[in-house]
Amino acid sequence: MAKILAVDDSASMRGMVAFTLRSAGYDVSEAENGQVALDTAASSKFDLVLADVNMPVMDGISMVRQLRTRAEYKGVPILMLTTESNTDKKMEGKAAGATGWLVKPFDPEQLLATVKRVLG
């Protein structure tokens, strides 16, 4: 099953994402900030990365930028988890190399639909 990395400093948000995806059979790893995510993504290759924007230590945008410099993450879908008020952040994330975004708030159904859409 596809491997997904969920990156969010909020344990509840991360927990919801991970739980939902695991229930659907995906293999999910979690990271609480961009730095941890980079380390995790180095030890294992993921098919999809879901990343919050605002995080301490390393934010989601910097994380995407760095992840995209790695050859093995070329073309791997990375979605920013952002709020609708953050239109600039969506574009900033895209410019850094994100594939797209998922607008908070989202419910488990929306999350699964988007993940399925991206993973095909």
Binding site: S10, S12, G15, K74, T99, G100, P105, D107, E109
Partner: protein
């Protein structure tokens, strides 16, 4: 998939949000004192997280309020607006209001109230937009024509960014009938090709009753990464499509609806106290368990065939087992340990509000926030600390005028410091105020009949007076300190935690309270004392010294009490065999031993048969297993399986003084 409920994440959402609010408050207060831009970011981050979470987990009222707060913070963050006192004040009120909302959310009550609604309007007014009327939903979808011609030319970098045209075309195919024509005019030679760049383009005919919005949403993520045109299929001219409206995600109605349902049974189980444990602590535990397993395996070898020549190895193994067990015990206790910072965090706000109210200038120094305390101690130490801090600002620190007159800086300093000392945690609350008002205290004590004369009382003795029940010196009872709680209650709370409070005061220079607390309530270090056939544990922290007395060293006093001279003072003797009714105990003073113990600054001697040894005792509640016994704080189980009672030194001293007074 609707079986997935988000309510199971409510508890952790509440926890992290309350922590976020604490951090937000701390940052706001720091900002109030001229902090930097990073503080604004951290405040924004906290608000942003709460907003996202509350919307996701079905708390729209909370999301609406934080949305306004976030918008205001966003303006500050972007530099569109300078931070000022009014914004900080508004944000602090938002923090308070959200705390209230979380309280109500945990109780399953409606979140919004008049205050929160009014605050939301004020925030919105500050942002400069009125609370929006019901969001203008996109108008009805345009009537769909018979189809569209889509010209799609990705930019070279689109593939590397994770958007595969293959996926986009598949999504289009789900909308209607597709005729796809690939355009190869721009592809380079094989040698020149960078295979991760896209040089293909497509002309796509899509037939079917499809709205332009539906097509645009397929390309939503790649608008900036491709050249795209969407034209109606010729012959059928559909009405011009309106500009695409910003997509507003529907609120998670399902989540909100199920929130109430999950409340009942889940609520009660959630009330059980929980501790969040850092991963490295758990990893440490796992390592230790691993070591134990290895040691156990090593010791296991001796079971098969034991050869006396291997005695040294056996001893080594046992020593290792003892070491690991001890380390494991410490680590497990460590799980209950939390940094005192979580209690300290509430003081910046308290100090700010109080000092403003009283017209005093106070600088708060917090030191040693990372010092860890047992969770139970931590939960109970908050109130005594609040009381001492209030007292310090109310009574200790002077007004700026008085300080100036005394040649001191107008801003007073209040310092909270926590640190380890021996097996204890020490929390000191000190101010550089006027110190105790000796005359006022003595006058009050005389009036209350606590003392007969103020002559020759040392500073310490005067300080002790304020811990007496019913003592209060404030000329005017302010609403700050005058809450019916005196210093005697502070001391009792601390003593109940197995600690004590001492005061030190220097006229004109300040006052400092020192609270000493045990590291943990669950295990104590104690001396095992034999009395008759029984065993008692005397907590090591209370022990001053143990002495053997000659028969002539003890004086009987009228009323049946006994005194002995120790370091120039006469101390009462409590015979444990009499106190607890032990048979067959030694009766003659010269045959037994007197343990000098101290609590609350008072010393007494405990008469026992002999000392058996030192040991750690795991404290079991006597109340829970039997009933409360005066002078006993709990019980423990000894290595041989028998039960020993643990002496409550402070309790015995209180009993003794009552007896004296009677």
């Amino acid at each position: 998939m609707s079986s997935i409920s988000v309510t199971q994440f409510h508890k952790v959402f509440f926890e992290e949000s309350l922590e976020g609010l604490d951090a937000m408050e701390a940052a706001l207060l720091a900002l109030d004192e001229g902090g930097d831009a990073e503080l604004v970011h951290s405040i924004f981050r906290a608000a942003h997280s709460i907003k996202g979470g509350s919307a996701t987990f079905g708390f729209p009222d909370m999301a609406a309020l934080t949305h306004e707060a976030e918008s205001l913070l966003d303006q500050v963050r972007d530099g569109r607006r300078a931070i000022d006192k009014s914004i900080i004040e508004l944000m602090l009120r938002t923090v308070d209001c959200l705390r209230g909302m979380f309280d109500r959310a945990q109780g399953g009550q409606p979140l919004a109230d008049a205050d929160s609604e009014s605050l939301k309007r004020q925030l919105a007014a500050a942002v400069g937009n009125n609370v929006p009327a019901a969001a203008s939903k996109a108008a009805a979808k345009p009537a769909a024509g018979s189809g569209w011609i889509i010209q799609f030319r990705p930019h070279a970098g689109m593939l590397a960014g994770g958007n595969d045209p293959l996926r986009l075309l598949r999504e289009l195919a789900a909308l209607g009938q597709l005729v796809v024509e690939a355009q190869l005019d721009r592809v380079p030679t094989l040698d020149a090709l960078d295979p991760s760049e896209c040089h293909l383009a497509w002309r796509i005919e899509l037939t079917g009753a499809v709205s332009q919005d539906a097509i645009k949403s397929v390309f939503e993520w790649v608008e900036d990464e491709c050249d795209l045109s969407i034209e109606p299929l010729v012959a059928a001219a559909p009405p011009p499509a309106p500009a695409v409206e910003a997509v507003v995600a529907a609120p998670a109605a399902g989540a909100g609806g199920s929130a109430g349902a999950a409340r009942g049974p889940a609520g009660s189980s959630n009330d059980a106290g929980s501790v969040r444990v850092a991963i490295d602590k758990i990893d440490g535990l796992i390592d230790l368990v691993g070591e134990l397993v290895i040691t156990q395996a090593m010791l296991d070898q001796f079971r098969e065939d034991f050869d006396p020549s291997r005695l040294a190895m056996l001893q080594h193994g046992l020593a290792q087992l003892a070491r690991h067990t001890r380390a494991l015990q410490e680590s497990v206790m460590g799980i209950r340990m939390l940094p005192i910072g979580s209690v300290f965090n509430r003081f910046p706000r308290l100090v700010r509000d109080l000092s403003q109210k009283l017209g005093k200038q106070v600088k708060l120094d917090l030191v040693g926030e990372h010092t860890e305390l047992d969770k139970t101690v931590l939960e109970k130490i908050g109130d005594p600390l609040v009381h001492l801090v209030r007292n310090a600002i109310d009574h200790g620190l002077e007004t700026p005028e008085k300080r100036r007159a005394a040649g001191k800086p107008e801003m007073g300093t209040l310092r909270l410091e926590a640190f380890h000392r021996g097996g204890s945690i020490v929390v000191e609350i000190s101010d550089d105020g006027a110190g105790l008002n000796r005359e006022a205290i003595i006058a009050k004590a005389l009036q209350k009949g606590l003392i007969k004369s103020g002559e020759g009382l040392s500073e310490e003795e005067v300080g002790e007076l304020i811990f007496q029940p019913g003592f209060s010196t404030a000329a005017v009872t302010t609403d700050l300190s005058g809450r019916g709680v005196g210093m005697d209650v502070v001391r009792r709370n601390v003593v109940d935690l197995g600690g004590n409070v001492a005061i030190r005061s220097r006229p004109g220079q300040g006052t400092s309270f020192t609270i000493t607390l045990p590291l943990t309530l669950a295990i104590i270090d104690g001396l095992r004392a034999a009395v008759g056939g029984e065993c008692y544990i005397v907590p090591l922290v209370s022990i001053v010294e143990s002495v053997q007395l000659g028969a002539d060293a003890v004086r009987s006093v009228t009323g049946g009490g006994e005194l002995f001279r120790f370091r120039g003072e006469y101390l009462p003797i409590v015979r444990l065999h009499q106190q607890f009714g032990c048979a067959n105990a030694r009766q003659l003073v010269e045959e037994g031993l007197v343990i000098v113990v101290e609590a609350d600054g008072t010393q007494i001697g405990l008469f026992v048969d002999e000392l058996v040894g030192q040991q750690q005792a795991v404290v079991k509640s006597l109340e829970a297993n039997y009933r409360r016994v005066d002078g006993i704080s709990g019980a423990t189980i000894l290595a041989d399986g028998s039960v020993a009672l643990i002496i409550d030194v402070a309790g015995l001293i209180r009993l003794q003084s009552r007896r004296k007074a009677a």
